[in-house]
């Protein structure tokens, strides 16, 4: 018998309505039926007073309160219902400095966009099965930052900007000098 996720209370925060609906449907299909969704961190802060989540899944870039500010609220505010609440951060920003920033805010897991049902489920299972101890220092409170190689979350997308692609392009007829014209020609043959 597998985990029963039906009663797990999930707070979903995402400002893009279409993406929010999509993730909510995915969560439901994966077994999570008790999901409340919010447009931004401000709404989530208000919502948490009446719906205490077992898990928070949040986007990063939102206004007026973004995903990292909300994470810091959960980890450090006197009004936080549980400073240990697991948090999964969804983000399309996978540059190394951003990943470090998310980690330092106290996020448990990163979920790189584009999201799939598999990656979403894997992150939820990681929260359940591989919880990390928390660490408190003078300037940090959150899940231990040493356990994971956070680079792994960059996934296959990080290869999109790898140097070998540029080298390949440089070998194309016309080189890199007339890129836009080359692309227009290629688009016509697509």
């Amino acid at each position: 018998m597998a985990y029963n996720l039906e009663n797990m209370q999930v707070q979903l925060i995402e400002d893009n309505r279409n993406m929010r609906e999509l993730v909510k449907m995915m969560l439901s299909a994966l077994g999570m039926k008790s999901v409340r969704d919010y447009e931004n961190g401000r709404q989530a802060i208000d919502g948490i007073k009446e719906f205490v989540p077992d898990l928070i899944i949040t986007d990063w870039m939102m206004a007026p309160v973004d995903g990292l500010e909300y994470t810091r609220h959960i980890r450090t505010s006197d009004n936080s219902p549980d400073i240990f609440t697991p948090i999964i951060l969804m983000t399309g920003h996978t540059e190394k400095w951003r990943i470090i920033k998310a980690r330092d805010a106290g996020v448990n897991e990163l979920l790189a966009k584009p999201i799939t049902a598999r990656t979403l489920y894997d992150r939820v299972l990681a929260i359940i099965e591989k919880p990390r101890p928390f660490v408190r220092t003078r300037s940090f409170f959150g899940p231990c930052r040493r356990r994971l190689n956070w680079q792994e979350y960059m996934g296959p997308e990080r290869r999109a900007m790898s140097d070998d692609r540029v080298e390949l392009f440089d070998q194309m007829p016309g080189g890199a000098g007339n890129e836009v014209e080359d692309i227009e020609r290629l688009l016509e043959s697509l």
Partner: protein
């Protein structure tokens, strides 16, 4: 905010010895028990749901890219470029497209975001490059190129990649 640059020294530093490790009870595992492990059918069920939404998404994607191109053309005509708007829309398209199997759109969207991210203003060459990215997205959707596409699609991404690299050099 969306096109923010790295801050200096973002990693907090604790004083030597200033460290407390707290073992937290796994309340979540207790709550989802007594069963253990993944539901082998869960991902398939969720993927079927996504698949059933694909036709509607494709129509919406076409319309979103068309709107973005129209907005870009207006900016080009008026000479006033809202780079934040272009970035935000490209970022949204990129995030959703991959989920629905349009990996190529997602890759192009990512490159466009990387092109736009450092720009304070767009030069003539950069405006051409932005237009090339948008046209590439429009063509890929019109031709319904799923996944990473054929060889020619890979060449397009390589070309856009080179533009972005050149722009940020």
């Amino acid at each position: 905010m969306p096109r923010a640059r790295p801050e200096e020294n973002t990693a907090p530093r604790g004083a030597p010895g200033d460290f407390e490790e707290i073992q937290v009870a796994n309340k979540l595992k207790i709550k989802v028990g007594p069963g253990v492990g993944a539901d082998p059918g869960a991902v398939d069920t969720a993927e079927r749901i996504v698949e059933s939404m694909k036709a509607d998404y494709e129509k919406r994607l076409e319309s979103e890219i068309r709107d973005l191109l129209e907005a870009f053309d207006k900016m080009r005509y008026g000479g006033d470029f809202d780079l934040d708007l272009l970035y935000d829309k490209s970022h949204e398209i990129r995030g959703e497209a991959g989920t629905f199997g349009y990996q190529l759109i997602s890759d192009i969207g990512k490159l466009l975001c990387e092109l736009l991210s450092p720009l304070e203003q767009a030069s003539a060459a950069e405006i051409e490059a932005i237009g090339a990215h948008l046209k590439a997205m429009q063509t890929v959707v019109a031709q319904r190129v799923k996944g990473t596409g054929p060889e020619v699609a890979q060449q397009i991404v390589q070309g856009l990649n080179a533009i972005v690299k050149k722009s940020s050099a």
